[in-house]
């Protein structure tokens, strides 16, 4: 249902993943978009090694944070992150590159996994792995189905439906076998026999390569999907791959599916087989005016400015810098923002494209209704949000909104539908949470 077809602009496709320079000072954020912030377990003056835990999960829906560099903790302070707010962070002055001995840094592929399901989930939880697609939901929570529910199938999200971004695509080309081993580990963790990897058919090389390697793994099917945004949304992907729809307000486990991002799968492989916690991720540097479109493997906490400088600096006609893709990414306030677990790329948007166009009246063309992948009526929800009609918005299922931005994208009157929907969703969400705590 719904969806749009933006131009893909995958300039950086096929560019080898290169290691980003290690910064002089790494600023590792302890906050996550979802879930509680981690509690720091180091203090100023402490010496840390690469892979050492520096932040402890503050609850079940939270994740550990590990040092991505070796050196001395300078201070614990707040630092701006991609959300535009200050979050508690650990500042580490880098000295050398000394790794924990327990981490296996050899390039040999570890194929055997003898751990049991609970051991795997414990390992993933200890390694601080979160969903690397962007929502950064702790992976161990997703792998632990609520009581009474049983997973039937594992779906791997390798769709990468956001225009411009190529980090998952490139990872699949370079780490094919590791990803497939990661998938078998995840299948073992949630005790399912079948896994589907969904890839959009504009990544033919990745599909062919994955298919070739998947022959030697039991139960993994590579599925070629049509190009459509937002197919990388959990609910959309489940519908596209196994044809099941999730009831409003429920989680994918309701239809027996567990969805994981392909980047997460690779992180799981590294955590379980190589004992390496989540300390680096692949990010794409791209944009229409960027000369060196590139994919980097960057340590968490590296200031984006360092990586951008390495890729050739900010293009002159840049009007907006976005962390993530053009559809769901967030405009950055400064390049002092550091690489976080959910940073999938840095996108430079040219000045004329960055400016908002003049808003006009709604002409009731219903393009937004057709485009909404969740079957909502964005034009109606926007006018309700403008009038603070929270009860009506809740009835019209604002909480189902996945904030994909299809409505704003296709509006011929340039109405800021997404802004109002997001505001409405957060207001209604607050009301619902208050109601639940009162009970």
């Amino acid at each position: 249902m719904g969806g749009i077809h933006p131009k893909t602009y995958k300039f950086s496709a096929g560019k080898q993943i290169q290691a980003a320079p290690i910064p002089n000072q790494a600023i590792i954020p302890l906050g996550h978009y979802l879930g509680g912030p981690s509690l720091p377990i180091v203090k100023a003056g402490d010496r840390v090694k690469v892979g050492q835990m520096i932040g402890q999960a503050s609850g079940f829906v939270s994740a550990n944070v590990h040092s991505s560099v070796s050196g001395i903790v300078n201070k614990l302070d707040s630092h701006i992150d991609a959300s535009g707010y200050n979050v508690p962070s650990v500042f580490i002055d880098v000295q050398g590159d000394e790794w924990l001995e327990s981490i296996d840094r050899s390039i040999e592929i570890g194929r055997e996994c003898t751990l049991t399901s609970t051991e795997i989930i414990k390992k993933i939880s200890e390694s601080g792995i979160v969903g690397l697609g962007g929502a950064t939901f702790p992976t161990h929570v997703k792998l632990t189905p609520p009581p009474g529910k049983k997973a039937e199938i594992l779906i791997i999200n390798a769709v990468e439906c956001e225009p411009y971004l190529t980090c998952d695509h490139q990872l699949m080309l370079e780490k094919t076998e590791e990803i497939l081993i990661g998938i078998t580990i995840l299948m073992k963790a949630i005790q399912v026999e079948k896994a589907i990897v969904g890839i959009e058919n504009n990544k033919k090389d990745a599909i062919d390569l994955m298919k070739k390697y998947a022959k030697s793994f039991a139960g993994i099917e590579i599925m070629s999907l049509q190009v459509q945004y937002p197919q990388g949304g959990e609910k959309q992907l489940i519908d596209a791959s196994i044809g099941r729809q999730i009831p409003s307000g429920s989680l994918p486990i309701e239809v027996g599916a567990v969805v994981q991002n392909v980047g997460t799968t690779f992180a799981v492989y590294e955590a379980v087989q190589k004992n390496k916690p989540l300390i680096e991720r692949v990010i794409t540097i791209t944009g229409k005016s960027v000369k060196n479109h590139s994919n980097y493997r960057a340590r968490l906490g590296t200031p984006l400015a360092n990586i951008v400088d390495h890729a050739g600096g900010i293009p002159e006609d840049t009007g907006k810098i976005v962390a993530g893709g053009p559809m769901m990414g967030r405009a950055l306030v400064s390049l002092e923002v550091t690489v976080a677990k959910g940073t999938s790329g840095v996108l430079f948007i040219q000045t004329p494209e960055a400016a908002r166009k003049k808003m006009q009246n709604c002409i009731r063309c219903t393009k937004c209704v057709v485009a909404c992948p969740m079957g909502l009526e964005p034009y109606l929800l926007m006018s309700q949000s403008e009038r603070s009609m929270w009860t009506e918005m809740e009835k019209d299922r604002i909480m189902d909104c996945i904030e994909c931005g299809c409505c704003s994208f296709c509006c011929p009157s340039n109405r800021p539908l997404l802004d109002h929907l997001r505001y409405g969703k957060s207001s209604v969400g607050k009301i619902i949470r208050n109601r639940q705590t009162k009970k």
Binding site: D77, I80, G84, Y85, N86, R330, D419, H420, R422, Y423
Partner: protein, 280 residues
């Protein structure tokens, strides 16, 4: 001629029948309302601002009539005179009205708190707040998009186009609480009006550490606690790197104003020759 006569007579007949029906219906289905409610409602300012916490002036009138005493029932718009009127009508005693004022706790104007990015989205503080921290380095301060201006029913609050900060007209402000509720950053608070509207308050809401905040704003409270140590009346407390002056304990001695290293504590409405200029 005949046709006119018939028309007029028919209409008169229908009118008479309807009048009889309406008369009996109104007698049969009459809803009794305490006449005091109407009297109280007339005595109220009839602005329906909701500052009392009830849905409009009628709701407040109902609450006053049904309550046993007028304790905690205050019309902030009408103030003392109105509440005494209401008390006379109802034969109850009015609870004392402490006059309050809305106060904006942010002094970061364009000069003191320079912009580092440009927002061109929907002109609403609530939406901008939902998106990110704001156009300046301070993520706690005023966004300047004027949600408070929109909700003010008394024309008492306007965004100053030079400083991009809201300014409150004290003559017009009725402390109805609408702007306090509308501000997503919780910058506006109601304060004790004090003697001759003399007031001292901390003109900042930033909870960051001192060194971080001074990078983005030069008039921010850095939580140095100098004012707390200076205050002899235990009116100042510092939590989360932010000082707070309890306006009910403050004796307006103004010692804290002079010790503040960043001029984050401001005094207003004091005689001019005595005070450091507020605008400065």
């Amino acid at each position: 001629m005949n046709i006119f006569l018939i028309s007029i007579l028919t209409l008169l007949f229908i009118g008479a029948i309807s009048a009889v029906i309406l008369f009996f219906v109104s007698k049969r289905f009459q809803v009794f309302e305490n006449p005091l409610i109407h009297q109280v409602e007339i005595a109220l300012p009839a602005v329906n601002c909701g500052g009392c916490g009830y849905p409009g002036c009628h709701g407040f009138a109902v609450a006053c009539v049904s309550a046993e005493s007028l304790h905690n029932l205050v019309c902030t718009v009408g103030g003392k005179a109105t509440m005494e009127n209401v008390a006379n009508i109802l034969g109850k005693t009015a609870s004392p009205v402490i006059p309050t004022h809305a106060v904006v706790h942010c002094g970061g104007n364009c000069e003191k708190r320079p912009r580092n990015n440009y927002y061109d989205g929907v002109s609403s503080c609530a939406i901008a707040h939902n998106l990110y921290g704001g156009e300046t380095g301070c993520t706690f301060g005023c966004l300047g998009l004027g949600d408070c201006e929109v909700v003010c029913k008394f024309d008492a609050l306007h965004i100053n186009q030079v400083t991009k900060l809201p300014e409150i007209d004290e003559e017009k402000c009725t402390s109805c609480n609408a702007c306090v509720k509308a501000c997503p950053k919780s910058i506006i608070e109601l304060h004790n009006k004090g003697i001759e509207s003399h007031r001292i308050f901390v003109n900042c809401v930033n909870k960051d550490k001192g060194e971080t905040i001074l990078e983005s704003c030069s008039v921010a409270c850095i939580g140095c606690e100098k004012c707390m140590k200076e205050c002899a009346y235990d009116a100042i407390s510092v939590t989360n790197n932010l000082a707070f002056i309890d306006s009910y304990k403050c004796t307006l001695c103004r010692k804290c104003v002079s010790v503040c290293p960043t001029n984050a504590i401001v005094e207003i409405n004091f005689p001019l020759k005595m005070s450091k200029s507020f605008e400065n």
